[in-house]
Symmetry: C2
Subunit: 513 residues, 2 copies
């Protein structure tokens, strides 16, 4: 048997797994969008069956043998796509097979119970009722991390699921100065700044008009509606359902049109990444070798995915250049609320830095502080340096220290997020890693595409999208997120670009030098 | 091992098969409704994989052993639900395993090629170009029927797929007098009748208003939108996706509002049957033993399904009683086009009998003639009494004889339907069987629910729906279609109720005695 044929058999095997995974994506999308409520318990059975069939295939020893065959036939340390696919297939297979089935089912049960308990505890502001569930989930998560860990810090084994190759110590080295500098910035703004006029944010705009504008913006930026959709859900998301089929969702609040606009641009950023993966002709990337089902056909990490959503949402969507392009269309499609606006007035209104209690409602200026607090706390929970009994106090101390706000009760504090009840530990830092990658890529884009502001003001997004496709999208998982950013920008990930990006737009917006 | 446990294992096995089948339903529904065009080739892969996994399970010898085990442990000739499930599981398993895999794939290829050829041939009015493909499909279909046949006429083996236990000779015995009497009726109408005023059918009604009215009607009739949906597709359909999830579709033509209204009522009739199957609490039938995945949880035949759609579409929707209820709502929801209408004027406009060339555009008065011609011809094609070389002439002769119309070319004649290119032979007669069952059930309903017209005029559809649930829906495949109708009406299927139903409304509508 030649090397090519073992690799081909591996590819075919993984493609069938990906097809089954795509079926699960369709089920999930339908559940969130159009499924009638009466279908819920049937759907749970459909999803469980497809998940089981998928899991059986991706943890089957036959797959392990195919990977081992490829490893013996080609040098996986090479920089080729093939070597990367085998390396990453090994990573996925090992993660899936290292955790005993018994632990998987105990974790699933504990998570399900913890989620129910969390919902009640949040409603009743009763952290003590949630605490034993959190302890159970943490204990089992630590057990899982022990199975996965390759020496080093346990937390790294969890992080690796969402941000492959990332290490908590490296993240800490970037987050610690970032946190201090952002905290200083927002305190200076709070103490000495003059807030911009944000009245336009509260104009009443019917959902249908917001949708027309959101679709126009998404299409202008390069999202293909022939290979994608935009629908409405309670919790917006974007899913690369299958090659040629990328679906995003948003929601419309008639008294807050920026929710849908920036929500749509955020999901569109995810969607453009998905539409830029090398998945062959039906994906619109006929010029690249089709990587469907293979690691090099998948997004590299949650952090890098978030960098794409934040770039379009914030670096583009909140810029004055964008409003030079978009304002006439906002006037045309969303009506008279925009008749007395200018590009500078809109850019001023949508760039704020107001300390608050709730992460999901935080503005761009303060968001990362919420995230970094969670990273520090969950890392300490996993290492054992922090007990759940001290979590609430530790949370509230840090909110006071870094955001300058008093947390009145756990409901607006350590009970606000669903993640920990779900066992999603190691997920939070990817939000801020996304912003770090974004700012660093954005700096390189401004360098490489000198007149990017003029292009955006003219509605010319193709050079930007092309840059992202060339430097990020088309590589899939060929390089790690940090390597991708280094290759694209020439520098290691650092806090400087993000701090400078935020300072340079927020300080003038609040009348500070 | 006890009988109960073998039966339970069979039930569990079939439930998992049904879950996989439901996943395929979701994929199919999504493909027709919301999938972006770029997702088509991915979706073909998803559907093929799920179909393959489903086929592997339902033709697995393990299933054969479970069925054989139940057969040895319980008397399958009993009238119990359990016996019916084992009998019908045997029927399904045998049909699936009697056809060699090689023949299945040759048929699939031949059908695919024939469909492409048929599309071109219809466009170009070129039957000779389609003929060799039709010969190939017929030859392979005959081969398939030979594998399935249990002695008797080959055509019966094909019919059995759509209308279990039906025999062509029995159908012929009903169709022959029916055809003559309906042909006489429509010729009398054409020669001597005065057509009703149908101007209201061409009022221009925006799609959104038609949709509001259609939803109102469906909800009034008892369709549950908590356990179902109504969407738009090019070709309307209704799918019982899964327990608690029944989805119908329609289409809106702004210059012909009856298309959507009667299309919706037709699909709703299918949907009410699906929502009335004994699929447990999530299906809204908590009072019945849950038959999900078992034959007694499935509709009995295409003909019986069609009887339900035709009953709501025609017996109810085209009645004067219905318009007593519906007219004020049509005025409220669809506007002024209805302001000068009365229940009799609307009932008159929607009950016509105009001979025409195209089946799918035919009215209720002439539809069955189209169908019975196809039944006679396809039966002769399978037996060999008719060669494809003589098909066009035979088609045109019968259209002249029974409908009194000249077929100008094959495009409006024997090339008009997709069915034969697809190998769907034995399917056509179910349309008229549906109307026969419908008329016979409708006669019994009028007998059992004496004031049904008054109930309908008041918008009280619950007694009717309850009658259908009791006599038809709740039984699934426990009895054959003919047995169900006999149990419900006390009589064997006969042409009289359908002829009398059509005569009694069409003759007065055309001013004939």
């Amino acid at each position: 048997m030649t090397s090519a044929s073992t690799y081909q058999r591996l590819s075919d095997y993984l493609r069938e797994c990906a097809t089954l995974h795509a079926v699960g994506n369709v089920l999930g999308w339908d559940q969130e969008t159009y499924m009638p409520s009466g279908g819920a318990s049937s759907r749970a059975e459909h999803a469980a069956l497809i998940a089981r069939l998928h899991h059986e295939r991706v943890s089957d020893p036959k797959l392990g043998e195919l990977i081992a065959g490829c490893e013996s036939e080609l040098d996986v340390s090479q920089e080729t796509i093939e070597a990367a696919n085998v390396r990453e297939a090994r990573r996925d297979y090992d993660r899936r097979t290292k955790i005993p089935a018994d632990l998987v089912s105990r974790l699933a049960e504990a998570r399900s119970a913890a989620q129910h308990a969390w919902k009640d505890a949040r409603t009743n502001n009763d952290f003590p009722a949630f605490r034993p569930h959190l302890d159970t989930v943490l204990g089992l998560t630590r057990e899982m991390a022990t199975c996965l860990a390759d020496g080093g810090e346990l937390y790294d084994a969890l992080l690796d699921e969402y941000e492959p190759d990332a290490k908590a110590a490296d993240i800490e080295a970037v987050f610690t100065p970032l946190r201090q500098r952002l905290s200083d910035l927002i305190k200076d703004i709070a103490d000495n700044g003059t807030p911009p006029n944000t009245n336009v944010l509260h104009a009443n705009i019917p959902a249908a008009k917001q949708e027309a504008f959101g679709r126009f913006v998404a299409e202008s930026c390069g999202f293909s509606f022939e290979r994608g959709r935009l629908d409405v859900t309670v919790h917006p998301f974007c899913e690369g359902v299958a090659p040629g089929d990328t679906r995003m969702t948003t929601r419309y609040r008639e008294d807050s049109w920026t929710d849908a606009l920036y929500g749509t641009m955020h999901e569109m950023g995810h969607g453009l990444y998905e539409q830029g993966l090398p998945l062959g002709e039906r994906h619109g990337r006929a010029e690249l070798p089709d990587q469907h089902g293979l690691p090099c056909g998948e997004a590299v990490s949650l952090g890098m995915h978030e960098s794409q959503s934040r770039l379009w949402e914030n670096a583009i969507g909140r810029s004055e250049a964008f409003w030079h392009f978009a304002l006439p269309h906002a006037q045309r499609l969303m009506g008279e609320a925009f008749s007395d606006q200018t590009p500078p007035s809109l850019a001023a209104a949508v760039n704020t830095a107001t300390p608050s209690l709730i992460r999901v409602e935080a503005d761009e200026g303060t968001y990362n502080l919420h995230v970094m607090i969670r990273f520090e706390l969950e890392r300490a929970l996993i290492s054992g340096d922090l007990s759940t009994g001290d979590l609430s106090a530790a949370w509230n101390d840090r909110y006071k220290e870094f955001l300058g706000v008093d947390v009145p009760r756990d409901r607006e504090g350590c009970l606000q997020d669903v993640h920990w009840s779900f066992g999603l530990i190691g997920y939070f830092p990817t939000y801020t890693l996304g912003n770090l990658h974004m700012a660093q890529l954005w700096r390189a884009i401004r360098r490489d595409l000198g007149d990017i502001d003029a292009q955006v003001a003219r509605g010319e997004f193709a050079p930007l999208l092309s840059w992202l496709r060339t430097h990020i999208h088309q590589h899939g998982r060929r390089y790690s997120a940090n390597e991708l950013t280094k290759r694209a920008t020439g520098e290691d990930l650092s806090p400087d670009p993000l701090v400078e990006y935020l300072e340079s737009k927020l300080r003038p917006n609040y009348g500070l030098g």
